[in-house]
C-alpha cells in the first residue's frame, strides 16, 4: 500500500501540469540541490581546518560540539518556513477502504523525503568519521551520528507538528529568529552560552556514547506525538493550519492619489493576502543586508563604487526587481475582471509605479543607516535610489507587457518556479547592467562622483518625466493585452 501511495506521488510529481515547459527548470533545481549538497560535503570534509582557521587556539572538538545545537536550531526555523505539510496528498484516499493507520504512516514517511534530512548527514558525517571516530573510537562515532540523525528526525516531525497546530507560523519563525539572535548576543557577551551547553552534551556522548539514545528517544516521542495527533485529526479541514477571521482593511493614506491610489491599495492587499507574493516580498527584505557584504572599507577609501552600486541598486530596488519580475502575472486570476471593469489602463499603470516608488523610498530610508559607516555610501545609495525611482520601474513594466505567464498564488515562493518564463528570467539583467551604462562613461570622464551624479540625474529625469512614460506603457499594454489575458486564462 505504501508503495502504491509513493508511486502515485511520483506520478503526480512527474505529470504535474505545465511540466513540459519547466523540465529545464526542474533540472536546474536538481543541480542546485546537488550543488548545495556538494558545498555541505566540502564544508564537512574541511570542517576541522575551517574551525582552526576561524577560531584559532580553541580545541576543534569543543567548537564542533558547540555548533551542533545552533545548527539544529537554525534548521528548525528554516524547516518551519520552507518545509511543506504533505497533507493534501491523502485527500483522494480518505473516503476509500484504507485504514487510517496506513494513511498516517504514509504521511509520516512522505515527510522524510525532504532535502533537509540529507544535509546534516553530509555536513556532519565526514567530521564524525574523520575526527570523532579517530579520537573516541568507532562506537562513539556511530552514536554521534545516531544523535545527529535523531536530532534531524526530531526537528522534522516537531516542525510539522508545530505547523499543524499553529495558525501563523511566520510570526513563530520571526520570534524564533529573534530568540536565536538574542542567544547569539548573550553568547557574544559571555552571559549565557548555548555553545557551552551543546559542547557539554556532545562531550558527554563522546565519553558515554549510550547517552545518544536520549536523542533517539526524543525523536521517537515526537514521531509518536505527531502520528497520534494525525490519527485523531485526519479530516480535510483540520489538516490545514487554522484560519483566523478575515476583516476588511483600508489604506487611507493612498486615497490622496485618487483612482491610482485605490488600485495601489488593492495591490498591497494582493501582496499581503497571498502566500506567493507575501513570501516573495518578505524575502526581498533579507536583501537589505547586502550592504554588509558589499560595502568594504578598502573600496570606500579608493572611491571604487562599482560593486557597491550593484548592492545599492539591489537594495533600493528589490521590490521593483523581485515583485516586478512577475508583473502582471500576480493578477492573472482577476485579469479579465480588471479589463472589463471601469479601470482605466492609465491608472492601472500609475498605481504600479506608485507602489514601486513608495517601496523604493521606504527601502532607501531604511538602508540609509549604512550612511553611519561613511557618507560616500549615502551618495552611492541615493544615485541608486533615483535609478530605482525613475528608470527601473518603467523598464520592468515595459518588459512585463511581454510576460504571459499566470502565477499560482497559493503556494510559497521558495524554490517555486511556476510562472517563471524567459522574460522574467531575463528581466533582471538590464536592471543590473543599465546603471553602469550611465555610471561608467561619466566616471571615465570626471571621476567616480561624476559617475554617481550622472546616474542620479538620469534617474531623476526619468522620474520627472514619468507621465510621458506612463503613456508609452499604456500603449505597450494595450497592444498586447489580449495576449496577456489569453496567457493568464490558461493556468
Amino acid at each position: 500500500m505504501l508503495n502504491t501511495f509513493l508511486g502515485h506521488q511520483w506520478k503526480g510529481f512527474f505529470r504535474a501540469r505545465g511540466k513540459g515547459t519547466s523540465i529545464a527548470v526542474q533540472i536546474i533545481m536538481g543541480l542546485l540541490i546537488v550543488y548545495l549538497l556538494g558545498c555541505a560535503l566540502v564544508f564537512g570534509i574541511f570542517m576541522d581546518n575551517l574551525i582552526q582557521h576561524f577560531m584559532p587556539g580553541r580545541p576543534v572538538m569543543e567548537v564542533f560540539n558547540g555548533l551542533i545545537l545552533y545548527y539544529f536550531a537554525l534548521e528548525f526555523l528554516s524547516r518551519m518556513q520552507i518545509q511543506e505539510l504533505p497533507t493534501l496528498a491523502i485527500v483522494p484516499y480518505l473516503h476509500l477502504r484504507i485504514p487510517k493507520r496506513k494513511l498516517v504512516n504514509f504521511l509520516n514517511i512522505r515527510a522524510l523525503f525532504s532535502a533537509f534530512n540529507i544535509f546534516p548527514l553530509v555536513l556532519f558525517f565526514p567530521f564524525i568519521f574523520m575526527n570523532v571516530m579517530e579520537s573516541y573510537g568507532s562506537f562513539a562515532g556511530w552514536m554521534y551520528l545516531l544523535a545527529v540523525v535523531s536530532l534531524s528526525v526530531f526537528n522534522n516531525y516537531l516542525a510539522l507538528y508545530v505547523k499543524r497546530l499553529s495558525i501563523s507560523n511566520t510570526r513563530f519563525v520571526i520570534a524564533g529568529f529573534l530568540v536565536l539572535i538574542g542567544l547569539g548576543l548573550l553568547e557574544y557577551f559571555k552571559v549565557f552560552s548555548i555553545a557551552a551547553v551543546s559542547n557539554q552534551v556532545f562531550s558527554a556522548i563522546a565519553q558515554q556514547p549510550l547517552i545518544a539514545l536520549v536523542f533517539t528517544l526524543g525523536a521517537v516521542a515526537v514521531f509518536v506525538l505527531n502520528a497520534s495527533y494525525l490519527r485523531k485529526n485526519l479530516y480535510m479541514e483540520e489538516l490545514h493550519a487554522g484560519e483566523a477571521r478575515k476583516t476588511s482593511t483600508d489604506y487611507p493614506f493612498l486615497d490622496r492619489f485618487g483612482a491610482a491610489g485605490q488600485l495601489a491599495a488593492l495591490e498591497i492587499k494582493l501582496i499581503l493576502r497571498n502566500k506567493r507574493s507575501k513570501s516573495t516580498v518578505s524575502k526581498g527584505l533579507i536583501f537589505i543586508f547586502y550592504g554588509l557584504l558589499f560595502y568594504k572599507q578598502k573600496e570606500l577609501d579608493e572611491n571604487s563604487f562599482g560593486m557597491m552600486l550593484f548592492a545599492a541598486v539591489f537594495m533600493t530596488g528589490n521590490m521593483v526587481l523581485l515583485y516586478g519580475q512577475f508583473m502582471f502575472g500576480w493578477q492573472s486570476s482577476e485579469f479579465d475582471g480588471l479589463l472589463s471593469n471601469k479601470v482605466s489602463v492609465r491608472n492601472f499603470i500609475k498605481a504600479k509605479l506608485l507602489l514601486f516608488n513608495i517601496a523604493s523610498t521606504v527601502l532607501t530610508l531604511v538602508v540609509s543607516l549604512y550612511g553611519l559607516i561613511s557618507w560616500k555610501i549615502l551618495a552611492v545609495q541615493f544615485a541608486a535610489y533615483f535609478f530605482s525611482l525613475g528608470i527601473a520601474p518603467i523598464l520592468v513594466m515595459y518588459m512585463a507587457t511581454f510576460n504571459y505567464k499566470a502565477i499560482d498564488m497559493t503556494s510559497g515562493s521558495s524554490f517555486n518556479w511556476q510562472g517563471v518564463g524567459a522574460t522574467s528570467m531575463l528581466m533582471s539583467l538590464p536592471i543590473f547592467l543599465l546603471p553602469y551604462l550611465f555610471y561608467l562613461p561619466a566616471k571615465m570622464i570626471g571621476g567616480p562622483f561624476w559617475g554617481l551624479a550622472a546616474l542620479g540625474i538620469v534617474g531623476l529625469i526619468g522620474f520627472l518625466t514619468q507621465s510621458f512614460w506612463v503613456e508609452v506603457l499604456v500603449k505597450a499594454f494595450n497592444k498586447r493585452k489580449y495576449k496577456i489575458a489569453e496567457g493568464f486564462r490558461e493556468k
Binding site: K246, A259, K342, M409, A485, F488
Partner: protein
C-alpha cells in the same frame, strides 16, 4: 439599438468558433443566449467585453467599436466567471472597490447592499472570509450582485444560474426582470437551463458552432421549440 455585431469572426486553430454576419440588440431587450458547449457563447461574450480580439469584423456598443474605446465600460456590467472576482478581497471590499469605479461612496455601496440581503441569504456579508474561500455558488452571487450594483444599461451574465440554489435562481430572475422595468436595461444571459431563459428572456438566440441558427421572440411555444432542437 445598443449593440450591433458586424461580420464578426473568430477562428481558433483553423476552426471557426464565432461567425456572425449581423446581429442587432435593442435597448430594453432581455436576451437569452443558448447553445451546447462549444457553440461560441463565452467567446462571443469575451469579444463583446474586448477581452479577445476578433479575427474579422467587430462589435459596436452605442455605435462605438468596443475594441477602440473604453466608453462602453461606463454603462456595461458583466460577470462571466471567477476570473472577474478579486479573490483575495472580502466581499465588502470587493463591492466597495467596484462601487468606487462608478463613483459610489462607501455609504452608497452599503445602502445598495441592503437591497440584496435577501439575495445573499445571510451568507455573504460579514462572513469573515475572503472571496476565494466561498463556495462557487456564493462566489457567483458576489459577482452577480457586483454587476447589478453598477446600475448598468447593458448587463452581461454567463450562465448565472449555474451553481445557484433554487431559491436564489428564482430571486435572480426577478432581479433581472425588475432591471428591465425600472430603467430599460438590456440584459444578455447565456444559460443551459432552457426553462429559466425562456421564462425571463423575451428574445432567444440559439448558437451552433458559432453561427446564429435561431433568433426568436419568446412565446409559449419557444420552450418546446428549443427542446425539440436540443433533443434532436
Amino acid at each position: 439599438m445598443i449593440v450591433e455585431i458586424k461580420d464578426l469572426k473568430k477562428v481558433y486553430a483553423g476552426r471557426t468558433v464565432v461567425n456572425i454576419p449581423e446581429l442587432r440588440i435593442n435597448e430594453g431587450e432581455t436576451i437569452g443566449l443558448v447553445g451546447n458547449n462549444g457553440a461560441g457563447k463565452t467567446t462571443l461574450f469575451r469579444m463583446l467585453l474586448d477581452l479577445i480580439r476578433p479575427d474579422a469584423g467587430g462589435i459596436f456598443s452605442k455605435n462605438e467599436n468596443v475594441a477602440s474605446t473604453d466608453e462602453w465600460k461606463n454603462y456595461t456590467a458583466s460577470f462571466l466567471d471567477e476570473n472577474f472576482l478579486i479573490d483575495y478581497l472580502t466581499p465588502e471590499e470587493y463591492f466597495i472597490f467596484i462601487g468606487s469605479l462608478h463613483n459610489m461612496t462607501r455609504t452608497d455601496v452599503e445602502q445598495y447592499l441592503q437591497r440584496y440581503l435577501e439575495f445573499f441569504n445571510g451568507e455573504i456579508l460579514n462572513s469573515g472570509k475572503y472571496i476565494r474561500d466561498f463556495s462557487k455558488g456564493n462566489q457567483n452571487k458576489v459577482g452577480i450582485a457586483a454587476a447589478l450594483m453598477q446600475n448598468p444599461e447593458l448587463l452581461i451574465l454567463d450562465e448565472p444560474f449555474a451553481n445557484l440554489d433554487p431559491t436564489t435562481q428564482i430571486r435572480l430572475k426577478s432581479l433581472v426582470r425588475s432591471l428591465r422595468t425600472t430603467h430599460q436595461a438590456t440584459t444578455i444571459i447565456s444559460s443551459h437551463d432552457l426553462n429559466h431563459v425562456t421564462d425571463v428572456c423575451d428574445r432567444i438566440i440559439l448558437l451552433e458552432k458559432g453561427q446564429v441558427i435561431k433568433d426568436i421572440q419568446t412565446t409559449e411555444n419557444t420552450l418546446m421549440e428549443l427542446e425539440a432542437y436540443f433533443s434532436a
